[in-house]
Amino acid sequence: MRILTWKRVILLAALALLASLVIACGGDAEMDAEKDMEEAALPPFKIGVMESLTGPGETYGTVSSQAKQMAVDEINAAGGINGRMLELVIEDSKCSAQDAITAYNKLTDVDGVKIILGTSCSGAMLGAAPLAEADGVVLFSGLATNPDIANAGDYIFRTALSDALLGIDMGNVMWTDGIRTLATISETTDYAEGVRRTSVAQFENRGGGVVAEERYGSDTTDFRTQLTKLLGENPDALLIAAQSEFTGGTIIKQVRELGYEGPIYSDIVPVGATALEIAGDAATGTKAVLTDISPNNAKGQEVLANFRERYDYVTLAWFIGSAYDDVYITAECLKQTDDDQDADGIRDCLYAITWTGAIGENYTFDENGEVVGLSNVVVEILPVAERTEENQGYKVLGSAPTE
């Protein structure tokens, strides 16, 4: 009996504590609400951002979220949208489907956003897209390029160019350069695998052949064995499809250290600033097919200049422009719908919009939410001495050849 009494006392004490907490918190919440009402008549528009801020995709995820923050600050400094401020809720989707789903659930359940700008990695995008489609949440990416995203749903948009296009351009560039046999090394991620698959498909369509292929996990640091095997087949050229700048740069460095002197082709990742820093002079002459902001694009150059002034560096310029445009396009649509919870309105607005921004003029979205009116260019990496922040280490050779 005694023990029972003690239990009751503890129970009562706990209940009393809980009750007092509830009362205290309730009081706080009411006060907070009152304070908010006094301070701002109209709450800000809230949009979610998911980018890979850590992990293999941190370079472009970080650039992208910084560019978005810059665009938002510009919009707010100019008076906001219809008098209301714009607010970003930024979550780290890492570079994986699992983390993207966690971030997505947090943004939609906790923050209650209906528009999410992101995400940076194709794998992450493909993980979150079915959820967004089912919930009717607009998912708008500036960076994810896997071809499968085109069919991911009605609410899924992107200003990133599909790898299907990149692959066709890449295959054509290699074939036109006289490459007939190819060795490939690719990271085992959705994006890198997409680049490899589409490039090889086009290259084989033209009549070329793949003599060797190797794949690696994102945390690999020593590629020499795999590269030795690839070079043993004496390919005309090496194609690198990497998800992280670190591995891309390291592969270029190690393959040159193994004495390989032939041409190297890659997507944009292995020629990013971090990758070039790692590879050093080994990267000189590497050809990459990528999207770039042309020097003649005044708006794009202005955005890059502002970005450099604000963050003191520029890398992956096109991603900066793409992320920046995404915010402005969304802001334009918010201006029309005047409701950040109206995902359907935003979706319809996106289908109808024609935009001129940092990455190009008069581009639109097709019925799959794919961007129309932008194209890839072919670039060649310059020697270390000629690399500057302005040219980002490469010279543009022109548009990719066609068949």
Partner: protein, 449 residues
Amino acid sequence: MIAQRISLNNLLAVVLTLAAAAYVGWKVSQAPNQAIQFAFNGLSVGAVYALLAIGFTLVYSTVWFFDLYYGAAAALGAYGVFYLRSQETLGGLYAVNNIVVNVLFAAVTAGVVAWALHASVYPRLRSRLQPTVLRGMLGLLAAGAGVYTGVVLTFPQELHVILSPVLGIGIAVGATWFLYQAFQGLVAGRVLLALVAVSGVAAAALGAYCGYFVFNAPESKLYLSWGVSCMLAGVVGLALYRGLYVYMRERSRSPLIMLVASLGILLAMTAFTSIVFESTPRPLPEALGSEPWTFAGATIKGFNVFTVGVALAGFLFLLYLLQYTSFGMAVRAIGDDEEVSKVVGINTTTVIAAVFFIGAVYAALAGILSGHDTAIQPRMGLLLLLKGWIASVVGGIGNLHGAILGGFVLGMIEQFGIWDLAGEWRDVISFVLLILFLSFWPRGLLPRK
């Protein structure tokens, strides 16, 4: 019955070895150039494994427990270099300098120096000086060492300037001591004193010159940071030994408890590294010998040759230390029987502390070399630890000759093993090798006598 089983084991082992040899022989005859390239790659990674296995063997054959901190020391060494050098090199992309880290390492260094002074200097001077004065002086020295470490970590851009006086004094003292040792066997009495005095002046001049040289050589910062990182890894190893293992060894004789404790340390330090530096791989700045050299259609970097040289030098140094010095004799005695060593008057705590320090320095060096060769990441500690362990099992656990042999053998087998497999199978091959050795040759290629 037993004899039958052993012969069956032997038979299976012989068949496996022959099959492997035949396979490699056939592949080599198919593509000799590629085989040479694989051999070079195997040498490069094998040297790192060998270095790890040597240090591992030293610690293991003295205290007979798996100190998993050993892996953390490798990561610590590599990240130390990254920490000290990343602000200026690598385009300033990875600038990191954390006041918490600096203070932490300064405090650990001060504590370890205080203990080292207490254990070595204090008993000798106790009778000559007043205890309070002596304690105060030693305390000041320890605090000074701590502050110095903090300064080194806080201003890595000035590493060559900050370290030059200490380096000069160290070289002068070391040279004098060396000459003293050398003269001791030849002459005695006043002649010896006079000779040492003369050579002391020369040594001081040498030290001053070296210090001045480093002072004016900013390009030496990278290599100075190697030294600093190795010392820090060693100091942390000492701190763990004195602060944790000593007490645990007193209380329980079970190596299993120590193993679990050191596993905790390894995981904690890996997590700590991930927090400070993030978990993705990072490059280390360019070191010497990045130019590839070509032999017979295969290439090897100068740095890899250097790594092989370091592994061999580390092996010879340790061999000399264990076989020809009184310290080595004490280490071997402790390895044979710690209790008896204590009884005959060996200060086991100090000797084991030195062993832990040397072991951690070897691990850190292996981590640095591997980091420069490829890259660094927080979980590299566990990977390198496992490879070092496999190498010492293959070579014969507890045998120094076996350790260096095992390191290179493991490196080669890893490379040749994936000739026809995808690259991801490399670690699988290492572990299959481990299982095979534990089943058929548990005492390794060169068993401990």
